[in-house]
Structures are given as structure tokens and as C-alpha cells.
Amino acid sequence: MTHDAPRLLPCGDTAFTIEFGSSIDAGLSARVLALDAALAQRALPGVVETVPTYRSLTVHLDPLRADPAELGRAVLALAGEPLAAVPSPRLWRIPVVYGGAFGIDLDAVAAHHGLTPEAVIARHSAPDYSVAMIGFLPGYAYLEGLDPGLALSRRPSPRPVTPAGTISIGGAQALVASIAAPSGWHLLGRTPEKTFVPERDPVFLLRPGDRVRFVPTPAERWDTLAAAAEAGEPVAELCEG
């Protein structure tokens, strides 16, 4: 865990970033989420939106309502205070069908690490992850908490399309993909849950700071669960702590 002083980085006249560090680290992510929560509580004039990432919080502002430099200094000061970590009361248990056509890279990942596919599934579904960042594409949830024994740098060339609901790993990160997209990550499985439904309230199932646990699910259950998800029924289980 690093405890360097946070840095204020300008992002033009409509945003700035408070950077806590440069790595993927549970301690950094907790500080980012703590600052995010503190800002939401304080409702500083001119703050429009905030974007937590693994290691930084970007604050979007309205330059008509706040001076970006002054607001940046105020938030930096707040970031330097010992903010209480905010453990999320929300834990999602997300069903995942691993391997086979659902996770075409499971065997290769297992072989790379000298593990059985079952051991990879066990290690991937063991932790309570934290949603450290949602980004790149709408609803793409990047998780903190991957077993370091599973970490694996990305594929040399991305696949042109990977399906919605793909559960994958890249480097030290784990991902829940909301919509179909190209990806260079290693595909371990797939969830029938829909994490991004524009017509639903809430539109996005997962929020930054949520905890996530993957529940290995037999392939025979896919059709039933997928049909339920298609009908708008929740497939992931929400456990409020």
C-alpha cells in the first residue's frame, strides 16, 4: 500500500484529477472511493460529475460556477485528510458459466499458470472483488481483488468481438463486460446478467465501490438464467450487508 501525498493534475478547464498513485492496489482504490464519497456528501458548488478509477478520482466541473484552480486546491486538501474508508453495503453474487464456449481462454490460462481449469475457477470465484472503475465502454466494470496467481498480461492481438456478459482478466484486473466489444483480455466465462439496460432503473447494475463475488454456475443453467435476464428478472443476487 502506498501513502504518497495525492497530486492535483489539470485536465483542461472542465476537470481535474486527484491522483493517489500509479498502480492497482486495494489501498489506493479505497482512498479514491473515500474521496468520492466525501465529495458526494459535501456537494461543492461547481462539481458536476466524478469518475473513480483504480488510482485516481477525476472531478468534472462547470467553469461558469467554479474556478477550476480553486476547486482543485479545495478537493486536493480534502484528499489529504484522513478520510474514513467506505465499505460498501452492497455485495452482488453474479452467476458465471466458466469455460467451454462461455470462456474460451479458461484452459489456456490454466495451462499458463500450471493449474487445472477447476483451480482457476476456484481462485477466480473466491474473492470479494470491489468495483474500482467503470469505464472504457458503458457499464464495463473493472474489479480490484484478482488473485495475483491468476494475473496474466493481455493477448498479443485483441479479438474483434467478445460477447456481452463476458467475464475476463487482463493483467492484474478482472472485468465484467456489459456489451459486446473487441477485447484483448482472457475470457474465463460469461454471465447471463445484464449489467447495462438503458430502459431499466437503475440503468447500470453495478456502481463504483460495489462488491462482487462470482458464483460458478453449470452450463445447463445458462438458457434458464438467460431467459430470465431477457425477461427483465434479476439473475445476480444482491446482498445488502
Binding site: 493534475l9 489539470p10 485536465c11 483542461g12 478547464d13 472542465t14 476537470a15 481535474f16 484529477t17 491522483e19 500509479s22 498502480s23 492497482i24 458536476v48 460529475e49 466524478t50 469518475v51 473513480p52 478509477t53 483504480y54 488510482r55 485516481s56 477525476t58 468534472h60 467553469p63 461558469l64 474556478d67 477550476p68 484552480a69 472503475m133 467503470i134 469505464g135 472504457f136 465502454l137 458503458p138 457499464g139 464495463y140 473493472y142 456489459s178 456489451i179 447495462f196 438503458p198 430502459e199 440503468v203 447500470f204 456502481r207 463504483p208
Partner: protein, 339 residues
């Protein structure tokens, strides 16, 4: 059946955009909205709309349009594009009524990229997550989550009323001066030579330019000793990210919200429209300004949009029509000669 605007012919890109979809950056969804907010607001104000009503954004596009089931008050603003009503030249930056049976043609712009066609009352397509703006990658907004195509029929809100036509001075694309940036957030990950290249050399807009971002060709921007991979952090509209190739990409309205390449600088918000209006093959330069200057320019840009309503002038009679169509230059000169 209510009135529709029929896109009888379309070449190039076209999508419905409004003020944008706010509040979802933390969920990975960029705001979309117009690439040239000033021209977009001008088109809307010309037809009596709020500045952020849904309008048709044309990107290097030509089109022929007809109204079905009524008449529409329309206006075009932005990249200068030849406009004809039943073959007769018509000025941009003024409103006019398109009647059933008439045809409006919009030529591909002579310069710049984006022109905006606004209709009185906006285009009442479904609002998705608080906005009608198309976000193509997410398939949200626009016409059923997609861009406009030839043959589409865009719903119109209200029949054109008897209000006077309005005009505005043409919106300048402000193409000559450098694109202004504030350095950072990761300018410290570039070498001195890399920074000097970025601020000293000219870059060319490549063919890989769309609403997500413009990739620029030109000299390679050298990273520092730390390399070009960072743990992903958030992007903003105007982020200038530099991947390993050293070729910068300026992220724009439909950008990815996070990225793992260092960002050498951020285009100031007032100049986003200026870079958006540069087309592939055109060169540009960057110049650094401080944050206070960028903030002042942002406020001036907002004031300019807010003042559009007070700058509207009624279009009266033939002389103004000709003047607005830039056909009256000779007549004005003749008048001066005789004075």
C-alpha cells in the same frame, strides 16, 4: 400522421444530437452532444428553440430533404454548406420554411466538417437516459440507437408557425490560430523533446477521425523513460492521449471514458469546436495556455452562446435575402461607388 422530415438523399455522417447525456461518466458513458456546440446552438436559436434542443448534425455530409405531412421551419448553421430550396440558393444562418412538395438540398461543406440543421420544436425522437443525442458505440439515442441513413424519416414536433424568419451573422470556424491546450494531466510522462514536438510542430488530421476522437499524423511525440503504459484513468473531452506510436489522439464527444495511454495535454473547452471543424488532411498546431486563460475563454464561449438570442435579426424582403445569400456583394459595392 404527424409531419416528418424525409432524408431523401444522404452522403456522409448524420446523427441527431442534443445538449448531451449528463451524469453517466462514472458508469463509462460519455455525454455525446454536438461536436460544435456554438453552431448547434445557433441553428436552434434561429428556429426559436432552446439552445440544446435535438438537431441534425451533418458531418462532411450532403443531403436532400423533404417535408411530409406539413411544413417545417428550419435553419442550417456551422460549416459553410451550399443550401438550395427548390434549386434556388438560400443562405445558411437564417430560418426558412420548407413546405410539402419542396426540396431542400445541403451540399457537402466547402470547409469545416459539422453543420447543424435545426427544426422548430426539435426532433421529438425518444429520449433515452435523459437525452436524444446519439451515442453510436452504446447504441443509445438518435434514431432507435443509430445514426441517420438515407431514406430515414425524422419526426417533426410542430407545424411551422407564421413567425418571421430570423438570421444571424455566420458562425466563424476560427480555423487559423493554433488549438489551445492546458498541459497535463500526464505531461510529466513525456520527454522535453516530446513536449517540444507537441507544441512546436504541425500535425495533420488523419482519416481516423470521428465523433469519438481525431487521430493526428505528424512527427512522433516521444514519451519519457517511463514508457507509454499507465494504469487506466479517466479521460475528458479534449484529452490528447499519446499511445506507443507517438501519434496523438484527441478524444471528443463520444470518447471512451477511461484510457491507459498518457495524456500530454487537454484541448481547452472553448477550442473543442475549433478542432472538431478540422477535416482529415488539414494541419493544425497546438499552443499551451494557462488554466486561468482557459477558464476565461470557457466563460466567453458560454456567454457567446447565451447571447445568440439577442443577435437574431428578422429577415425582411429580398434585399436581406440576397445579402444573406452573399449574392448582394456586387449591389452593395455599386451603391458605395455611387455615393
Amino acid at each position: 400522421m404527424s409531419a416528418h422530415l424525409h432524408l431523401a438523399r444522404l452522403t456522409g455522417a448524420a446523427s441527431l444530437q442534443d445538449g448531451g447525456r449528463r451524469g453517466y461518466l462514472r458508469f463509462g458513458l460519455s455525454a455525446s452532444g454536438p461536436m460544435d456546440p456554438l453552431a448547434f446552438a445557433a441553428a436552434n436559436r434561429l428556429v426559436g428553440n432552446p439552445a440544446d434542443a435535438a438537431a441534425l448534425e451533418l458531418g462532411l455530409a450532403g443531403a436532400s430533404l423533404r417535408v411530409e405531412g406539413g411544413a417545417a421551419r428550419l435553419a442550417l448553421a456551422g460549416a459553410p454548406s451550399g443550401l438550395r430550396l427548390d434549386g434556388e440558393p438560400l443562405a445558411a444562418h437564417r430560418s426558412f420554411v420548407l413546405r410539402e412538395g419542396s426540396e431542400l438540398t445541403v451540399e457537402r461543406p466547402r470547409e469545416g466538417v459539422f453543420a447543424y440543421l435545426a427544426a422548430a420544436g426539435g426532433f421529438p425522437v425518444c429520449s433515452v437516459m435523459g437525452s436524444r443525442a446519439l451515442h453510436q458505440r452504446a447504441a443509445l439515442g438518435g434514431l432507435d440507437g443509430r445514426a441517420c441513413r438515407e431514406g430515414d424519416r425524422l419526426p417533426l414536433a410542430a407545424p411551422a408557425s407564421g413567425e418571421a424568419d430570423q438570421s444571424l451573422d455566420p458562425i466563424s470556424l476560427e480555423r487559423d490560430a493554433p488549438i489551445r491546450v492546458v498541459l497535463g494531466p500526464q505531461d510529466d510522462l513525456f520527454s522535453q523533446a516530446g513536449l517540444a514536438t507537441f507544441l512546436g510542430e504541425a500535425f495533420t488530421v488523419s482519416n481516423r477521425a470521428d465523433r469519438m476522437g481525431y487521430q493526428l499524423d505528424g512527427p512522433e511525440i516521444a514519451h519519457g523513460a517511463g514508457g507509454f503504459n499507465i494504469v487506466s484513468d479517466a479521460t475528458v473531452a479534449g484529452s490528447v492521449q499519446v499511445p506507443g506510436s507517438g501519434r496523438p489522439i484527441v478524444l471528443l464527444a463520444d470518447r471512451q471514458t477511461t484510457g491507459g495511454y498518457p495524456k500530454i495535454a487537454t484541448v481547452i473547452s472553448a477550442d473543442l469546436r475549433r478542432i472538431a471543424q478540422r477535416r482529415p488532411g488539414e494541419t493544425l498546431r497546438f499552443a499551451a495556455v494557462d488554466l486561468a486563460t482557459a477558464t476565461r475563454l470557457a466563460r466567453e464561449a458560454a456567454a457567446r452562446i447565451a447571447a445568440l438570442g439577442t443577435r437574431l435579426r428578422p429577415v425582411e424582403g429580398e434585399a436581406e435575402r440576397l445579402m444573406a445569400a452573399n449574392l448582394a456583394g456586387a449591389a452593395v459595392d455599386a451603391f458605395r461607388d455611387g455615393d
